[in-house]
Symmetry: C2
Subunit: 222 residues, 2 copies
DNA sequence: TAGATTGTTAATCGATTAACAATC
DNA sequence: TAGATTGTTAATCGATTAACAATC
């Protein structure tokens, strides 16, 4: 039984819905209409309803959406109802930042291994997680049912390490290296290219300052 | 004299072109056609030509594009021909990771200040950059012509700090906090929401494993 | 019930791809 | 020149928005 292919744009928006629903939960809001949510999130109500209806009808006519139910359902769609074991390859600042971010664990992403090539780092621990040498990688993956690997290493080493991960059976790579990885069809890659993000910011900043953009609306000048 | 508004999709692709051109330069490739580049980058040649022609005609019929020239021109479009002074608010692992990433400096992004609320961090240095207390923020921005601020602090503090940045004249915020910032029209924000990225990866991983997706035939994830 | 709001179809808009004349 | 490849217009495709009947 096949569902319709979900567009990348929709997938990108799902975690944002999830975040706003989490906020609503914390505020103690029990139900919300697509119209109210659209105001908060600054997207159209149509888009919210269209997006959600890719996965099923979670609302009720005349009522709206139950916040807790919708939150749970989107969580399931995103796979947050399961435990994912995660390793981090590259235990520098960025790798440690990820290891230290406690909220990932709340969402089911449990870091249970860190790796590095640096002999000075190997053996020490971050948040109780031991940093291991790269020679332990394959055994560790096989012994610990590792599903996701975060790659926080220089781009020169990234393709070779990605190949090792794939060969060892990892099916999801969270890639922070500034290079595009080539992987088999059954492996998914999510890129976080910080330098590209910063260049985007630079473009927006410069083009706004230099007035390359059309003014789009009657907002005030400061 | 106003240019046509450039779509967000195009802006997102520009840094990727820039990265591939950099690689070509390092390989010593002098010229490249949209067709060759399209094979490398796994996008259509049409898209490359359309994207570039938003900014001008950088190629030559029958020849293609001069790699160095195109690289320089895209760099100018992205604002990489100028020096941007950058501060980092939040000097934890993530802030330090950014401070330590030397390649940003190569692109004109110079980190000249770091801040934190933690008394233990204040006064120490990262890569020669001193970590200061938040009470110095406004004066530092005014005295150092700060253009970009990276926000690597918890989401609870982010909106208040963003307001201070805006009030002090910062026009570009690189936001790593898991919250959407509200800023005036003349301020640009680029978000890096790591938890959303990880959820996206989780979705892709789960939906592929559970076979929710149609096979589309040999397409690659990037 | 009457009012509200969904789920879903139809209309619009924008982005991508294809095609080809211009031209190096 | 002839061949190659751009710049650009036209065609297609997909995503967003609008509209409204269904229904709680």
């Amino acid at each position: 039984m096949e569902r319709k292919e979900i567009s990348k744009a929709v997938i990108t928006r799902l975690p944002r819905y999830y975040r706003y629903l989490d906020e609503l939960l914390e505020e103690g809001v029990e139900r919300i209409s697509s119209g109210e949510l659209s105001k908060r999130m600054k997207v159209t109500a149509s888009q919210i309803r269209q997006d959600l209806n890719n996965f099923g009808g979670f609302g009720q006519q005349g009522y709206g959406y139950n916040v807790e139910y919708l939150y749970e359902e989107i969580g399931k769609i995103l796979g947050l109802d399961r435990r994912h074991s995660l390793i981090i390859i590259g235990s520098g600042n960025l790798g440690q930042a990820i290891a230290n971010y406690g909220n990932f664990e709340r969402r089911g992403f449990v870091v249970n291994g860190m790796f590095d090539v640096d002999r000075e780092l190997i053996g020490s621990t971050v948040r109780g997680i031991r940093i291991r040498g790269m020679e332990e990688l394959e055994d560790f993956i096989r012994d610990n049912d590792v599903q996701i690997a975060a790659l926080t290493i220089p781009k020169t080493q990234a393709p070779a390490v990605a190949d090792r991960l794939v060969a060892a059976g990892v099916k999801a790579i969270w890639n922070f290296a500034h290079i595009d990885l080539t992987v088999p069809d059954d492996v998914v890659v999510e890129n976080v290219h910080l330098s590209e993000s910063l260049m985007r910011l630079s473009y927006l900043f410069c083009s706004k300052r230099d007035g390359k953009h059309k003014r789009t609306g009657g907002m005030e000048e400061s």
